[in-house]
């Protein structure tokens, strides 16, 4: 589904990532960890076509990203749910409208979509905040809204960038449970985090592989976690 082959990336200075290869198979659960500034967010951006690798090849759903048209990239993004580190909401639209945004831009707002939307907002526990503006949400509410938006299109793949970045432990566990639930429904999940406790908490629930970015390379972390 997502394949990287000898991928390198640089923002213009030195290489941030070098010789990265990875194949995310359907239904797998991955953590991506590494120190702040090691390139986790950059790696995820390569995985949904926001950045183009400076060397090597990234294939999304078997298509080379470099050969995709702009509309092609848009189509891919409708199939990959992303929880962005900074959530990326439209500030002038309500929580509900933000969550429904992917439906709207893909023209799938009609039919049973509205019902699903209500269910989904309930699933992430935001029903009482449905009409609030993003700026009026707490950190945890923002993260949950971002998760709801990431899954509203029922994507096969879910990429989450620090989904528990600025929320307390109880809320982190709640979010983790939602992500594990999605994985049990068959979704491929990749979570970037530097919270090792979160990874440990997940390990008892799900067969997760842990990747680590260190020295510009992607490694499979050992059992020390």
């Amino acid at each position: 589904m997502i394949e990287l082959e000898n991928v390198a990336y640089s923002y213009g200075g030195g290489e941030l990532l070098s010789d990265v290869s990875l194949k995310l198979s359907p239904g797998s659960f991955h953590f991506l960890t590494g120190p702040s500034g090691s390139g986790k967010t950059t790696f995820l951006r390569l995985c949904y076509g926001q950045l183009i690798a400076t060397a090597g090849q990234v294939r999304l759903f078997r298509k080379d990203v470099r050969e995709l048209s702009r509309d092609g990239v848009a189509g891919i993004r409708q199939r990959i749910g992303v929880v962005h580190q900074d959530c990326q909401f439209l500030d002038h639209m309500s929580v509900t409208e933000n969550i429904a945004l992917p439906l709207m831009v893909s023209g799938r707002g009609g039919g049973g979509a509205a019902e699903n939307l209500v269910d989904l907002i309930g699933w992430v526990g935001l029903t009482p905040r449905a009409n609030a503006l993003p700026a009026e949400l707490s950190g945890g509410e923002r993260q949950r809204a971002a998760l709801a938006r990431a899954v509203i299109m029922s994507p096969d793949i879910l990429l989450a960038d620090e989904p528990t970045g600025n929320i307390d432990w109880d809320m982190s566990l709640r979010l983790l449970k939602l992500l594990i639930e999605l994985n049990r429904m068959g979704k491929t999940v990749l979570i970037a985090t530097h919270d090792l406790n979160l990874i440990r908490a997940a390990k008892s629930e799900v067969a997760a592989r842990v990747l680590r970015i260190s020295n510009r390379r992607l490694q499979l972390a050992g059992s020390d976690l």
Binding site: R77, V82, A100, V105, G107, G109, G110, A114
Partner: protein, 295 residues
């Protein structure tokens, strides 16, 4: 809740933040331009009417009127005929019969006018050929040979007026084209600045999988609608202003009917859709270009 999602267009129009200024600018520009267009249109249509009317009255005929004592009449008439035969630019000349003269006078004096007993002038109808004749020269020769003959070429002076009116009508249309072009330019600038100001919104939309055509569409609809609303306002005001112009009888000949008449009242209604079309095309082009530029 379903009302929020179901009518796709309504919700998707909210995607563009209601950022006041550029949109206000668009409405205002469209309004002002529509107002001006009404006047340009009124000018064009009115001068067009004027030109048509004058042109149709511009028969290529003049009249020579001979007033002379009865005993000199025949001699002067023959002199006039002689002069006309040797004047270049004249296709034919014909003396009106008494019967024809009676018909001309009938509206004023009734049917039983004893015309042969009255000192009624003789009338000679002169038809010029396409080159036309030199009226000043003809006048001088007539004065020399037939002192009682007066050349009346009242319709000829309108010739330059007709071409001036035609030119004015053209200018009116050129003005409309220029107004449309400046409207397009202004709306292009407004749309570009709106797109630039909303780079963050565009970024978010792209992240959730919006195609360029979708994003462009949202901006295009916003600007088209605002231009339309503005143009409706400007058109209504402009049309009112034209309608409230003084009547032609009051204002005299020069301004005769600077306004809309009959079927021409349809034309102002074409202005708002036209403004919307211009806004649509301008915004679409601006959006396509700008979106291609934003990575």
């Amino acid at each position: 809740m379903s009302a929020l999602i179901a009518p796709r267009d309504k919700a998707s129009d909210r995607i563009v933040p209601p950022s006041g200024f550029t949109v206000l600018l668009t409405s205002f520009t469209a309004g002002a331009m529509a107002f001006l267009t009404v006047f340009a249109l009124a000018l064009s249509l009115a001068t067009g009417r004027l030109a048509d009317r004058w042109a149709s009255e511009l028969a290529q005929t003049s009249t020579i009127r001979i007033s002379a004592p009865a005993e000199q009449m025949d001699a002067q008439l023959r002199a006039v005929e002689r002069v006309l035969q040797t004047t270049p630019g004249i296709a034919s000349a014909r003396t009106l019969s008494e019967e024809e003269q009676r018909q001309l006078l009938e509206p004023w004096f009734g049917p039983d006018l004893p015309i042969e007993n009255l000192p009624v002038p003789k009338l000679v109808e002169v038809i010029e050929n396409s080159e036309g004749y030199d009226s000043e020269g003809l006048r001088q020769r007539l004065a020399a040979e037939a002192p009682g003959a007066i050349l009346d070429d009242h319709t000829r002076w309108r010739k330059p007026l007709v071409s001036a009116a035609d030119r004015l009508r053209m200018l009116g249309f050129v003005a409309i084209v220029l107004i449309a072009a400046s409207t397009a330019a202004m709306i292009t600038l407004a749309a570009q600045s709106a797109l630039a100001a909303n780079a963050q919104v565009i970024g978010v939309l792209r992240l959730v999988g919006a195609r360029d055509s979708y994003i462009a569409g949202a901006f295009v609809r916003r600007f088209t609608l605002r231009a339309f609303v503005g143009a409706v306002g400007g058109t209504v005001l402009g049309t009112l202003a034209v309608a409230l112009l003084p009547d032609s009888e009051v204002a005299g000949n020069f301004l005769t009917g600077l306004g809309f008449q009959g079927a021409h009242w349809i034309w102002p209604f074409a202005i708002p859709p036209l403004a919307a079309l211009v806004a649509h095309l301008a915004t679409r082009n601006a959006a396509r270009r700008t979106l291609r530029g934003i990575a």
